[in-house]
């Protein structure tokens, strides 16, 4: 599937076509070494901006249910709890990010991956569906960020 771009105001969020997307978590999903690797989409990173702190509250090997809280993030513009995008077992966290979480900003679709899980990615959507989801919710999201995050740069 071809790459898509979602326009957040003047900012173009690139959405690679070869990835699956956990829409409610704004994470991408890629099969890697028999596991599912997850990371933040360009859309999520743009909303949060520079990542200052990333912390996980579960351990590799733990079984988690979908939308169970697994961690916490602090960025220059936001704080948020983080939730498991699918049910399954946590296999690994990206250790590099624990040393320096700004890797998320540098290479969100590559070296800035967040964690790997063993589980079923069936609920993840393709790029077109994620793009549609973003478009459908953009009004609501703007209400959240308007006046709080400077979207015109």
């Amino acid at each position: 599937m071809q790459d898509l771009t979602f326009m957040m105001g003047n900012f173009a969020a690139e959405l690679p076509g070869d990835l699956r997307y956990a829409t409610t978590n704004h994470m991408w999903c890629r099969a890697a070494d028999g596991h599912l690797r997850f990371g933040f989409t360009a859309y999520a990173v743009r909303l949060m901006q520079d990542v200052y702190f990333l912390d996980w509250v579960v351990n590799p090997g733990d079984t988690v249910t979908q939308l169970q809280q697994i961690g916490h993030i602090e960025t220059s513009k936001a704080v948020a709890d983080l939730f498991a995008p699918v049910g399954g077992t946590i296999v690994a966290f990206n250790q590099e990010l624990l040393k320096d979480p700004s890797g998320i900003n540098v290479d969100k679709y590559g070296a800035g991956w967040l964690f790997e899980m063993a589980g079923d990615a069936g609920i993840c959507k393709d790029v077109q569906e994620y793009h549609q989801f973003l478009a459908d919710n953009w009004e609501k999201t703007q209400r959240l960020i308007k006046g709080k995050i400077n979207t015109e740069d």
């Binding site: 939730f83 609501k140 999201t141 959240l144 960020i145």
Partner: protein, 348 residues
């Protein structure tokens, strides 16, 4: 503790984070070299109970004071106020490092709509947030600036007194030999090891009386007897340690966002500055798959969890929920109100 010297108190972080300790130590080392300052260190302010030596020390401080803590200034100031360590809010000019250019348009703060504090002595308390910078220089510069500001204020008042009609309070403050005991009580001296005795962790709400309208929603909502009223019928966090660790539910039902839990993870509840919205981080939890309940439902759930933990029955939304319809939506909303509304409106 002379009134012409400025008392500087540094309140340590919880835990043993080496980066935080290093900052604390470099600030203290630099401040001790400054003339005209009395520098003391106490443990994490929020954890000090009424019997802790650090608390007794703070209660005994006369005159202007600077408190450096790992708390938002609003949380620190009203925490001290609740403990009877009162003064006027000293405006800090510290700007966090990530303050952007577009913050400049921040409008003048609106006059406070809350009931305010009572019996405030004629002195200023400045609260500096140690999370704003990771090096000591900005704090040292700001303490110097505050020391000058306090000196100028004292001199202006003294001039006023020489020229005009002094009030009794002013007479008291300027004629008293600064080293004389106050009200017959010596200000006790404390050993550093007593001051620094590590307290246990505490958890309780702090009311920002500049926002609180005394509406009593919190006393109706809380079923653990945390809230009471003082002799003036003003709402009071009476039994702090009845509060349930981790539970911020009453802050969610407060119509004025006047209830602060200084250790809560989201800045709006932890006492982030009102108005400086770009410095205030947005909680994007809902955006990343968190529950999309409204604030009241969430508060009821949090309260139920604590009730059940206590072996009591959950009450859901049936007890003490705010009656928001009357008098609501009147008057302009400030930015914290708008932020809260925006979060509530977002259901994904």
């Amino acid at each position: 503790m002379s009134r012409t010297r400025l008392t500087v108190v540094l309140s340590q972080a919880q835990g043993k984070n080496p980066a935080k300790r290093a900052l604390e130590e470099s600030i203290c080392a630099a401040l001790i070299m400054e003339p005209g300052l009395d520098v003391s260190v106490v443990p994490y302010l929020y954890d000090l109970d009424a019997n802790h030596t650090g608390r007794l020390f703070l209660e005994g401080v006369q005159g202007d004071m600077v408190v450096l803590t790992w708390l938002y200034p609003r949380a620190c100031f009203w925490l001290l106020d609740r403990d009877g360590i009162k003064g006027h809010f000293g405006e800090s000019q510290l700007k966090p490092a990530d303050t952007d250019e577009d913050d400049e348009e921040a409008s003048e703060p609106e006059p406070p709509k809350g009931i305010g504090s009572v019996e405030v002595p004629d002195r200023h308390i400045y609260c500096l947030d140690l999370r704003d910078f990771n090096k000591h220089e900005p704090y040292i510069d700001e303490v110097r600036r505050i020391a000058r500001e306090c000196k100028d204020r004292r001199e202006a008042k003294l001039k006023q007194w020489v020229q005009g009609n002094p009030t009794m309070v002013q007479l008291g403050s300027y004629l008293r030999d600064s080293e004389q005991p106050v009200n017959g009580k010596e200000h006790p001296t404390f050993q550093p090891e007593e001051l620094l005795k590590q307290p246990g962790r505490r958890w309780y709400p702090v009311i920002d009386y500049s926002r609180c309208t005394n509406c009593m929603e919190c006393i109706d909502f809380c079923l653990f007897g945390v809230y009471g009223v003082d002799k003036l019928d003003r709402i009071l966090v009476e039994n702090q340690d009845n509060c349930k660790r981790g539970c911020p539910a009453c802050s969610r039902v407060c119509p004025e966002q006047a209830i602060i839990f200084p250790d809560y993870k989201t800045p709006a509840i932890a006492g982030a500055p009102v108005g400086a919205i770009t410095g205030l981080k947005i909680d994007l939890t809902k955006l990343f798959g968190g529950d999309a309940q409204d604030a009241l439902q969430q508060a009821a759930l949090e309260r139920d969890r604590e009730l059940v933990n206590d072996g009591r029955d959950a009450v859901g939304m049936t007890v003490g929920m705010p009656k928001r319809q009357t008098g609501k939506d009147q008057g302009p909303k400030d930015e914290l109100d708008q932020l809260t509304d925006a979060l509530d409106a977002l259901d994904i």
